[in-house]
């Protein structure tokens, strides 16, 4: 789960990382009031969960409260990479001398949280990593010892900070690490960490991604989930305990197990089709879950055929079959459906589905080929001009 910049800055503040004294506004009037409170020039920043806000015109300076109101009015409602801006952060403009990068991420290969710092802040760190990797310094943190002060000092020296900044930089590193661990983050980033005109350090932008698996112990953080973090379908899937990722293809997939679901997508492509989604109904899927999954798949207008691939283990094929029947009664859309049931109670499952008009398959390869053919046939039928319908439309 991704957090918005203003939420991240609040968290940073709680962990002793110095942040600007701004706040969030949802209307131009609120932005004006904040600008009045802050005084002087302010920066108005759109709060959307995508990168490249500045380039898209979503970050602007305002020299007066009146200008802040006007600028906020322009940014609120703006579309940035498909997301509508609903909130702006109003921060005091900063006198920036240098921009540093400081980030932490869980390194899977090393099985440690790794802290990274670079003197080249303020730009995309992946660009720095690609062009000038020698300018990024990193070190692994022992899970039992935490980030020690000497390690932070090492980083400060590596990125060329003067000695009077060693101690404040170390405090920021340790604060960020405490926030990372305290919130069960998978990524925490300050970019830029600015050296201001007076030599002090301040986190001018912040990013955090939280581990979804740990949200059960962070009700406060879980409540911060932004609706832009997921599509309506992804949200419904999550609430139903399903893993769903929308893709651009025409063949909807319902599979039990993540690996098998990915392999099903792959084999659809292998036979010349394109998967419309990833969907794992999970182990031991009950009928209602299956029904919810089918509703989600069919809510995508691109879907021209659906492939069910169920390898029964803990999941029982008869239970899945019942779910499919329930869903078919609720859903109005008619698209061809190909079903492959193997494993636990597959015979009962197939018997249940015998009454429904579904194509069946024995192997995954056969199922994929049939689904690809069915999707192609549906698409072709939709594209063929039907004279009767045309005439009706004209008159």
């Amino acid at each position: 789960m991704k957090l918005q910049e203003y939420q991240v800055k609040r968290i940073f503040g709680q962990y002793g990382v110095p942040v600007p004294s701004g706040d969030v506004a949802t209307t131009p009037a609120e932005a004006r009031a904040l600008a009045e409170r802050i005084g002087g020039t302010v920066v108005i920043k759109s709060q959307v969960l995508v990168g490249g806000r500045g380039k898209a015109g979503g970050i602007k300076l305002a020299k007066s409260p009146a200008e802040a109101e006007e600028v906020a009015g322009r940014i609120l409602g703006m579309d940035i990479k498909g997301l509508t801006v609903k909130k702006v952060l109003v921060d005091p403009a900063a006198d920036i001398r240098q921009e540093i990068y400081l980030g932490m991420v869980l390194d899977r290969a090393r099985r440690r949280v790794v802290v990274m710092a670079s003197s080249e802040g303020g730009v995309d760190i992946e660009e720095v990593a690609a062009k000038t990797p020698e300018k990024i310094f990193s070190l692994a943190i022992d899970p039992f010892l935490g980030l020690r002060e000497y390690q932070a000092r090492d980083l400060a020296i590596s990125i060329g900070l003067p000695k009077e900044q060693f101690a404040p930089f170390a405090r920021i590193c340790q604060g960020l690490y405490a926030a990372y661990m305290g919130c069960d983050a998978s990524l925490a980033e300050i970019n830029p960490l600015a050296v201001l005109g007076d030599g002090s350090l301040k986190a001018l932008d912040g990013k955090m991604v939280l581990d979804d698996s740990a949200l059960f112990r962070h009700a406060d953080l879980a409540a911060m989930r932004d609706e832009d973090d997921e599509t309506a379908e992804e949200r419904e899937a999550r609430l139903n305990g399903l893993s769903y990722v929308k893709l651009d293809g025409q063949i909807g997939c319902m599979v039990n197990g993540a690996g098998l679901a990915m392999a099903t997508m792959d084999i659809i492509q292998f036979y010349g089709g394109a998967p419309a989604n990833f969907l794992d109904v999970g182990g031991g899927a009950q009928a209602d879950k299956v029904a919810a999954a089918l509703r989600i798949i069919l809510s995508d207008p691109n879907v021209k055929a659906v492939l069910f691939n169920i390898f029964g283990g803990i999941t029982r094929c008869d239970e899945v079959a019942r779910g499919i029947l329930v869903a078919l009664k609720e859903v109005e859309r008619q698209v061809p459906m190909v079903v492959r049931l193997v494993g636990t109670n597959y015979e009962e499952g197939r018997a249940i589905l015998a009454e429904a008009k579904m194509v069946t398959a024995e192997t995954l390869a056969e199922a994929a080929q049939k689904a690809v053919a069915a999707a192609a046939a549906t698409t072709a039928a939709a594209e063929t001009p039907q004279h009767g319908a045309r005439k009706g439309g004209v008159s």
Binding site: R217, G259, M262, Q269, V342, G343, L364
Partner: protein
Amino acid sequence: MSILVNKDTRLLVQGITGREGAFHTEQMIAYGTPVVAGVTPGKGGTWGVGNVPIFETVHEAVTATGANTSIIYVPAKFAPDAILEAADAGVPLIICITEGIPALDMMKVRAYLDTTRSRLIGPNCPGLITPGEAKVGIMPGHIHTRGRVGVVSRSGTLTYEVVYALTLRGIGQSTAVGIGGDPINGTSFVDVLKLFENDPETRQVVMIGEIGGTDEEKAAEFIATKMTKPVTAFIAGQTAPPGKRMGHAGAIISGGKGTAADKIAALQAAKVRVARHPGEIAEMVAERM
């Protein structure tokens, strides 16, 4: 021979009275796995499914029954503790089925386990099976047959798919191990490949990887430099978009790293035959029999 579990396995079930734990304990016993003890705090002194004695702690259970393997079915909230308790009681092999353990918990658990003699398989895995001897997990037992192909995988049902295809062709398995779909786990591909390489019964190996991380790349390096037995591989997620978690917590392409294409290229460079889709795996293995 086989690896990790066999007829000498003496299995302890942590979370034996839960819905999943009870159901799968019955299944494991029905398969012939020697289940010697269960642990559920607060229910010590009672008897679980299959008349298995239940203890308060893992230490008690091990002392009383000589359990040498533990399987964990407790919810994610309690699973890290369950793993640590088993390790502290000196259980040499711990299998954690539980999905959804916070990554930072696993980071600490794994760092602690590295200081002990215990090996962890999983979490978020189907377990492992040596056909005809011991089923320590949630996989359907009947799709497996005894044989000489070692199987190692990050996935559950995709492994069943591949194993079943092998069985239908009359190709049996020595042991099938699910190492799990989490970003930090207890046992890697390389760990299992090493065991298969040293197992006289195993003649060839099937490795089923997926997007995310670099475990497959490390496996490729190991296969190229240390392995004599042939390996057939498949990597799931060739059509997965970057930045999206594909069900498993560990199945994500982040920062352009962990793509199926990279993994396939690394494996092919190590002279591993990589199947284009799961259906091809059994065919490729059959050609090498």
